[in-house]
Structures are given as C-alpha cells and as structure tokens.
Symmetry: C2
Subunit: 662 residues, 2 copies
C-alpha cells in the first residue's frame, strides 16, 4: 500500500467495530464456559458463585474500557500499550509489554482456533476425535491465506461479526423471554448430575476463595483483545480519538451484554459443563469418549429447539467464523508488532522493511508454527490453552495503565489551563484505578494459573525479552563499531589492486571471469588453480596454451586434496607481504534455476568465499554464469536459488534522481 | 592421509581378516536365530528343517566365496561389485549395484546395532525396554567417533574379532564335547513349549515349501558383508590378489564353521526362539513383557553354566563388540562409495573431494540419520529390520557374478594362451554357477520378504537409482553447456566497466567499499542508494557532503519501501542501454563471528546478490567489513558463519609454482 493511498481507507465506526472487535467479542464464546468448568470441581455445590463472578468480570470490563478510552484520547497515533509504556515507563518496561503481546498473539490463534473447532464439533459430532487435525488445519489455512497476502475487506469482517452479535442477542433474548413466560429452555446437560472431585464439594474459607478466584481468572478471558482499538486509532475517520472512544464504549457494552446474557441463560437453562466428562453421572463408561457440546451449542439447541433447527446451525456457524476471524487478527497484528520492534532494533532489521514480503512471511510462519505446536501439544483443548493466555493481556493492561498515570502526571506538571487540568485529573483517577484493578487481577491470574500452565507463558515472555534486549545490544555495539566520524576516511584508498582469477577448468564461466577481470584492468592480474589431480592439471595447462590466455597461471599444490585452504593461505600471505594493496579474487560461479541444482554446484565456491571474507583487504568478486535453467527461474515471481522459500512482489520501476557531485 | 603414505599401511593377512571380516563374521550372531524364528510359526513341528536350511546356507556361502575369489583375482584394483558391474554390464547396472549397496550400508548399521543391543540386554536384562534408546545411542556414538575422525587401528578390529571367533569356537567346541559325553547343554528356553500360530502346524506342500524358503532367506543374512574383501584388495600386502583370495577362503571357512556350530548346538540344546514371546507356553501373561535372550546368549549360558559365569559375559561382550564394529565398517564404507559415485558424477561433486572433511561428514550424518530413523521406526527389532536387509546384498551378488561371466567371455575372446584360457573357462563356470544360485536366492528373498518390509528397501534403492541418474544427466548437460571450444573466446572482453557502490548509510564499511571501488578505477563509478525513509536519506546526504565523497550519489525512489527491486531494475536497465559494458556492483558486507549474528545482518545484501547474479553482464563484488566478533571466529578449526555445521582441518601451506606466460 502506498503511503498516499492510506487516506482512502479510513474506517467509519460501523466497519471499525467488527474489524477491531472480532477478537474481544468472540471471547464471550468461551468465557462463561470456563467459569462453569472451574466451579463444577465441587459438583453443583458452588454454581451459586457464577453470577457474582460474572458480575466481577463485567465490572472489570467496564474499568478496562474506561481506562483505554483515556489511552485513545491521549495517544491518537495509536501506538497501543507498547508505545504508552515505552514512552512513559522506559524501554525495558515497553519491552515487557512487547514480549507479553507476542505471547498473547500466539495464544489468540491457539485459543480461538481451538474454541472454533469445538463449536464446529458441537454442530457436527461426527468430527469428534479430529480436534487436533481440524485445529492445525485451520492454522495452516490461515497461514496460507496470509502468506498469499489475501486480505479481508472490511465487509468480510463486518458480516460475520454483526451476524454473531445479532445471533447471540437473538438467542439470549428468546431464551430469557421464554424464561419469563415460564417455558425456560433446558440444556441437554441439565439431565446429568455432576460428581464432585474428591472432597472438593466441602471447600470453605481460603480454599473456597481460591476456587472463586480461579473461576474469575478464567472468566477474565472475556477481556482479551480489548486494547485492539487503542492500537488502531489512526485508521478511524476524523474526529479519530472521539470515534475510537465511542467504538470502544459500544464494543465494551456489546461484550458485556452478550457475556451477561450468555451466563444468565446458562444458569437458568441449567447447563452443566465439566472439565472431565467422567464427572457427569449417567454416561457410564461412555464418558471417556463423550464430547461435551460447548455452552454456546447447548444454549442454541435449548433455545431454538433440537439439533436440527436452522438457527442452531446458524449460531454455531457464525460463532466458529468469528473465532477464526479473531485468530486471523493475530496473523495481521503479529508481523506489525514485529516490524515496530525491528524498527527499534529489538528484532532482526529485515523484519522492518515493510515492502519486503519476506519479513511478514517469516513472522506469519513463526506464529503458525508455535500456535500449531501448542494446539498439537495441548490436544486443541481450550481449557488447557486458556491457562497460558490472559497473563500477557493483564501484564500489558497493568503496565499501560501505570504508564498512563505517569503520562497525566507529566501533563499536569506542564499544563496550566484549568479545563485541561481538570480533565487530566479525572483521567488520572480512572487510569490509576484501572492500574490497581488490573494489577490485582494479574496477581490473581498468576496465583491461580501459574502451576497449571501459565509458567510456560512466563518463561516464553522472559526468553523473548532477554533475546530482544540482546539483539538491541548487539545492534548498538555494531553501530558504534561502524560509525564513521573522520571525514578524511573518505579519501583513503589502497595503493594497488592485485587481481586473482580462480580457475578449475577452462570453460565458458572461467573465460568470462578472465574477460571481466581484464576489463577491470587491475594493477596486476594472475590466474590461480589448485592441483588436486594430475590429469586435470595437465588438461588445464594444455587448454590454457591452446587458447593463449593472456594471464599467467599459478598452480598451488594441495597434497591433502583440499581447495579452500591453499587459496586462503595464498591470499593471506600475499596480503601480509603487500599490506597496502587490496586483493580482488574473481570467482566464476554458476547461477542455477532449481534449488537442488544449487546443491550440485558452487559448494566449494561458497565455502571459499565465506573463508576469504574473513581476511581484511580482500574483495570477493562473483562472476556469474547463468545456466539455461536459471533463465526460467528469473521470471518475476519465480523463486531464486538458495532462497526458495522467499516470496517477493512483482518488480516495479523505481524513479531515479541523480545527485550533483558534492 | 597423503598419497605417499598409503604404501606404509598395507595389511598383513592376519590384520586384514578381522578388518574386512567383522561384518560377515558378526552376522553369524543372528543368522541361526532368524532361521529358528521363522520355523517356529508351526510350533516345534518344523524344526526338523533346520539342519537342511543351515546346510543350504553353508553351500551358498561356499558358492559365493568361490565366486568372489574369482573377482579378487580379476580385479586387483578392488573396485568391488560396483566396478565389476559397471565395467562389464554398463553404467546403468552398475548404478543398480551402487544403490543396493547404499541401502545395505544403512541396513548393516541398523541390523548390527540392533543385534548388538539384544546381546547386551541378554546379559543385562535390567536394560530391557531401552532397546531403542540404546540402539540410537550407539548410532550417535559411532557418528560422533567417525565425525571426529577417530579411526581404529588394525588392532582395535583384530582383538575383538579374534576374541569373538575364539569365544564362539570355544563355546561350540565345549558344547559339542559335552553332547558327546552325554551331558549336552540344555538351553533355558528348552523348558518352554511353543504354541503354533493358527493352523500353521499342519502346513504341507507349497505352504511348507514357502516356510522353508522363508527360513532359508532369513538364514542368508549370514552372507552379508562377504564382498568386503573384494573391495579391499589394494590394501593387502603383495601378492595382493592371492593374499586377498586366501583371506577370503579363511573368512568363509571360519564363518561356515561358526554358523554350523551355532546351529548344531542350538538344535541339540533345544533352543526355542520365537517371533512373539506369547507363543511360548509357561510364561502366562508375562509374555508381553518377556524379553527372550538371544540364541548366542542362551547357548553361552547353557554351555558355560548359568548367567553369572565369566565366560557367559565374555561371549556376550565380544559378540556385542563385533556387531558394533560391523556397524562401524558401514560408516567407513558409505562415504567411500559416495566419493566414488561423486567422482563418476552420480552424486554431488563435493562428496568427491576427499581432503574436505565436509564431504565425509555429510555422508556420515546421512547414514546415521537414516539408520537411526529405521531403528526408531522398527523399535530396534532385529527381525523386522532383517527383512529389509539381504535384498541389496543379493542384487549386488547376482549382478557382479553376471558381470564376471561377461568379463571371462571377453577375456576368452581376446586370449589365446591355453593355460590362461583354461583358468578363465574354470572361473567362468564358477561365476556362472554363482550367478544362477545367487539369482535364485534373490528371487526367493523377494518372494518371501517383499510384503514383510523388503518393498521399502526396493523403493529406497529405486529412488536412489533415479536420483543418481538425474544428477549425472544434469552434470552432463551442464558440462556440455559450459564447454569452451572456440579459442577466440579468450580474447573477448567488455568495452567498459561501470561501477556501482551500494550505499545505505555512510559508515566505515561503506567508506571501505568506496575506497576499494575507486582503487579499481572503473571507467565510471557511482554510488546508489534506495530512499526508503526521508530522514535516513537526509542524513546520508548531509554526511555525503560533510565527508566530501568524490563519487556521485544516485537515489532510487522506492514507493513500496523495497530495496532489492529498484536496484535490480536499475542495473538491468543500465545493461539494456549499454549492452557491451559490464556492471560491477560493490556491496559492503559485514563479516560476523556467530551464526545468530548472521541472521541479524546482511539479509538484504544476500537477497540482492542472489537476484543480481541472475542478470548477465553483472559482477557482484563483496567488500567485507570484519566485525570484531569475526576475529575470534577466524581461528583455525573455528566455524565460519553460515557454515556452522561444517568442519575443516587446520590450514596447511600449499607449495606454489608460477607458470610462464603462454
């Protein structure tokens, strides 16, 4: 996309909502289920906690949305949590947010896909047992689409998201009206009793508190993705900040209504959802193979009557679709974050070059491999995966709220307009409150989830953090080493160029290298060959004479039949005795069109080049000979050898400007 | 090893026997066992066939040894089956032998290690259940030893092999004497009855014949490795051929005596060895976890009394040791064969360069990966692996005997001396008989083993064959394409050199590239940069002026923020408008010392280079800047970047000779 074109794609609110909100809204598809699942360890004894926990989640959602509305107003450039924290709390904290977000992007893919697959299987039970295959298949599909650069139009997001919102609201509304009419829907799992885990039905005091907190921590998954809008402010139509803040409020309200509605309906229709199906009474020995329909599926079946109604399939379809779309947002967000980090030199520089599809490809493939690996490792089990998920979200929430408090403090120190000061005071209170609340939740999540898998997310984030700091330190060290500070350096040049053409046989590539070398007119020029086999050497000399090559041929003996060593040694010795000269080594090279041809050629040339480059005062000159197979490979869009997995857009002409001589 | 040193290492017969014969002799450790295992499908009903089958194997061994003695005399250069068949039956058949041998080297490693591990476990039953781990561990150990270039002295082979021969003969002798004294040893498995597989105890007619043939095919494993001596004739002391032939006869005799002795002893001591331990009566439900001691272990325990006698452990130790040594011979043979095939351009050329340890490393690693993979796939089960084994052996036997018949025919067509003709006639009869017999065995093996796993060996050999032919065709096509036939080509050279220095920032590497480029004095020189970010461009221009760089700076616009495309496009356009000039592109490049630094730098330079090389009339000049970390990496023996897995011997000086100008 050209920079000038960016202006044309600004989003109206009605499109921005589905684009940014598919991730946070889709999480209501599993949040209620995860709360129920934690509480049923004690049979049905603690389900009475559900409304309180749901209320706490709703309150938390309100706090987070309000806090992020402040971010949207204060940072219309849309840097998101990473920018807010880097600016206000320093680079180290910013990097903590970046590492957390990277882990979270992976988990967004894994959890959303796993939950989407669960909802598909709830509608098509014949697919039970193929969870992992389906999940990995969806990741592969998303990967392929993103690698090929297929980008959804706004409508591709808008239609499923609005259908999902509408469908869920219709389901909740219908269900609740039926409850009021005395004909409340009854879930298919209502018939099952729940056997509590050993001794878990008599929890009290601290143990009960921990159970409640665990359920709450699981319910907090409803908040994932809330900050997406704060990253996307620049994409809104003017007035950007106000539109973004409004969209965020609408998003928050929608999520809250959907989540509260689903939870209420689940309680009234007596949904029983457990971690281990063998806790359900009435299944007998079938429990090992029984797949529980998701809470959404159970509600849809209960409300719309039976498994074969159109609306049941409709709800399942849009739910699965929105979940897959949510996974797709991570495929867009991850390379973008990587690009920003690369710009700040925390990741390899090439990830920053936006135009280079290669960068995004690497990011997409890395994301897909890790997410696919987790899905495979955790059997595409939503519950297991969710334990790894929300830690990063709340780390980033907490740090950005703290950063915002620092932001308002600084603003208040500089600002004197009483109106602005008043607004800043108000915002500071909101963000401070948000920081305290989210920090509390972070501690709760850490306490309740650490041993259940969250430690892995922590380890991953720490490893990323250390790696990114190491990369930055390396780039800084190199930049310092390379900095040119003395203008006289521009006039330093070697006294003489000593040219060496490497020769093995006298075929066309060698002749071309000799011709090019002579055209360069170096101060001295010689041809160099390594005598490995006597016959080959004899043949070379004969041909050298027959062709009357006007360059002297020097032969290096190689008693151990090596090629690289004698050449490198010869070049180094020459440099040692002529330290003010530069040695130019011409190497004839084949250019081939297929990767396996690359394996068959140039191996010793490649190795030799990499060794020669270690020697100061040496230039290595590749004189390519294009084999006929290379012509086919050199078409636009075709792959080049040695880079078979890299794609590139078709060539476009660059405009030229010639600078005057300084 | 220098060529001159080769003469010093010629082998006396007493050392040649263990070095070449550890493979064929060690196979007696499992041949008897495999015969028994096949016959017990029908309970004890068909064990009466054992002596007849063993006799057939002994006869076959005699035929093969006699046939190969003719090869040794006719081909003292020791090319082995591959050379015999290539010379006499043409390259295509030779390649069949080569592919078969490559498959067989893999199977030698897998079968020998698996059998060695079985014998270790028979002595130390506590290790049962760790077969795969132990087997893969041994393969890893052999790989490491061979990668590090640890070569056994002749004694390292001689001592275990002679101890093995001595031990087995002692065991057989003691056992048979005890039988004659009426105190015959009784194997621990003699107490077990054998339950025949369903209906297999009433086999008759064709089915019985097939059973016998299957047992015979399994027993033919005793013949693996017999041709090793015929490959090694040049390593013998003079008279080479006669010494080799004698050694082969001794080897054949020893193998026959050991095999016959083990089989006789196994029958008299009533060893019961079955495919599935649950066929044994008296084990009850323990059969699933019961590990049968190998036949050798059962005999050693029966003859030398109990599991705790010194001689029992001695036999198990030397048996395991010889089997591991046999696997090691494949680690030596495989890269050597690959080197010969590479010389004939059937494999990538770099595999031929002997001095380059890289070549051997690749061969060793490939062999280890495939053998280890098979051990893992087949649970290190000797019986399953053996099904894949002997097919290659007998393909190579058959083809080389046919080749020898052709050889004698040709000799008889040229020779007139009646003495020589008489000998040739005699040899021809022997080889023709050998060809018929081994071809028959090949058919038997194919018929009885194909569905049990041999198909995989066939597929592997066919794939190798097709691949090697493809490689050869490719090399031939390239050689033809590159052949220089017109001496006038030596005086062709471009009219002008147009130099382009690629610039991103003005740091030390750029200044060095500019300095080197100016030292070359090309006809024209310009600096080229791609404008990706306005700030960076402004900074570059400012510094360009500050440093007063005496080279004009050309700026390419890149609206899509790409680097490669505009540069390649510019260079191609230049070439199109100046077809008689050559373009020299100078690329400043960082040389780093650690592989991960390579990831952080040079990626766009690498990509650009690979694209530029596709353009005719372009030279690509790498001007290296050695970062401080590279100095550490440039010590001898250290690894170079981008080649972290390649080792190289320490540098040695090459002697120089300067050729006079022609």
């Amino acid at each position: 996309m050209r920079s000038e074109e960016l202006g044309e794609t600004l989003l109206p609110k009605r499109l921005a909502l589905p684009i940014f909100a598919s991730d946070p809204l889709s999480s209501v598809a599993y949040a209620t289920q995860e709360i129920l699942l934690v509480l049923t360890v004690g049979g049905t004894a603690f389900l009475y906690l559900t409304p309180w926990i749901a209320a706490a989640v709703v309150a938390l959602m309100a706090v987070v949305v309000m806090s992020y509305r402040q971010v949207v107003h204060a940072y219309p450039s849309g840097g998101g949590s990473y920018e807010v924290v880097s600016t206000n709390l320093g680079a180290r904290s910013g990097l903590v947010v970046a590492a957390s977000l990277m882990v979270d992007y992976v988990m967004t893919v894994a959890v959303s896909v796993a939950s989407g697959v669960d909802n598909i299987i709830s509608a098509l039970p014949g697919l039970a047992g193929y969870q992992v295959v389906l999940a990995v298949g969806f990741v592969a599909l998303l990967t392929a689409m993103n690698l090929r650069g297929v980008r959804e139009s706004g409508n591709a997001f808008a239609v499923p998201t609005y259908l999902f919102i509408g469908g869920i609201l219709l389901m909740v509304g219908t269900g609740l009206i039926r409850v009021l009419l005395g004909d409340g829907p009854v879930a298919e799992s209502a018939a099952f009793g729940i056997v509590p885990e050993d001794g878990k039905d008599t929890l009290a005091g601290f143990a009960l508190l921990m159970l409640g907190l665990r359920a709450f921590a699981s319910g907090c998954t409803a908040l994932t993705g809330v900050e997406a809008i704060s990253n996307g402010v620049p994409a809104f139509r003017a007035p950007k900040s106000r539109n973004a803040a409004t969209t965020m409020a609408v998003m928050g309200l929608t999520a809250v209504v959907m989540f509260a509605g689903i939870t209420t309906l689940a309680l009234t229709s007596d949904v029983h959802y457990v971690d281990n199906a063998c806790q359900l009474t009435g299944l007998g020995t079938d429990c090992a193979t029984y797949t529980q329909p998701t809470v959404i599926a159970q509600l849809a079946a209960a409300v719309f009557g039976g498994d074969h109604s159109f609306l049941f399939y409709f709800i399942q379809t849009v739910t699965a679709l929105v979940l897959i779309l949510a996974a797709n947002t991570a495929f867009n967000g991850f390379p973008l974050l990587a690009s920003i980090l690369a710009e700040h030199r925390y990741l390899p520089r090439q990830l920053h070059t936006r135009g280079d599809r290669l960068a995004f490809s690497n990011g997409i493939i890395a994301l897909a491999l890790v997410a696919g690996g987790l899905l495979w490792l955790y059997d595409a089990n939503v519950t297991s995966l969710i334990h790894l998920y929300i830690l990063g979200v709340f780390t980033s929430f907490t740090l950005s709220q703290i950063g915002m408090v620092r932001h308002w403090n600084r603003l208040l120190g500089e600002e004197s307009d009483p109106g602005v000061r008043h607004a800043a005071h108000r915002s500071r209170v909101i963000n401070a409150f948000g920081a305290v609340v989210t920090a509390l939740v972070l501690v709760i999540v850490l306490l309740t989830k650490f041993t259940e898998g969250a430690w892995l997310a922590v380890v991953a984030a720490v490893v990323l953090w250390v790696m990114m700091r190491g990369i930055r330190r390396h780039y800084d060290a190199v930049a310092e080493e390379l900095a040119a500070d003395d203008p006289r350096a521009a006039s330093v040049r070697p006294s003489k160029v000593h040219g060496i053409v490497l020769v093995s046989r006298l075929h066309k590539p060698t002749l071309r290298a000799l011709g090019y070398a002579q055209a360069f007119r170096p101060d001295e020029l010689e041809a160099l060959t390594v005598a490995v086999e006597a016959d080959a050497l004899r043949e070379l000399r004969a041909k050298w004479e027959e062709f009357a090559v006007p360059v002297p041929l020097k032969v290096l003996d190689s008693p151990y039949r090596e090629i690289t060593k004698p050449v490198v040694h010869y070049v180094r010795e020459y440099r040692r005795s002529h330290p003010r000269e530069v040695v130019a080594v011409f190497i004839p090279e084949y250019v081939v069109g297929r990767w396996w041809e690359q394996v068959l050629h140039n191996q010793s040339a490649l190795w030799l080049k990499s060794r020669l480059l270690f020697t100061p005062g040496v230039m290595v000159i590749s004189v390519p000979w294009q084999l006929s197979s290379s012509r086919r490979a050199d078409r636009p869009g075709r792959r080049a050898p040695g880079a078979v997995r890299r794609g590139e857009p078709a060539p476009r002409s660059g405009r030229e400007r010639v600078e005057p001589r300084p």
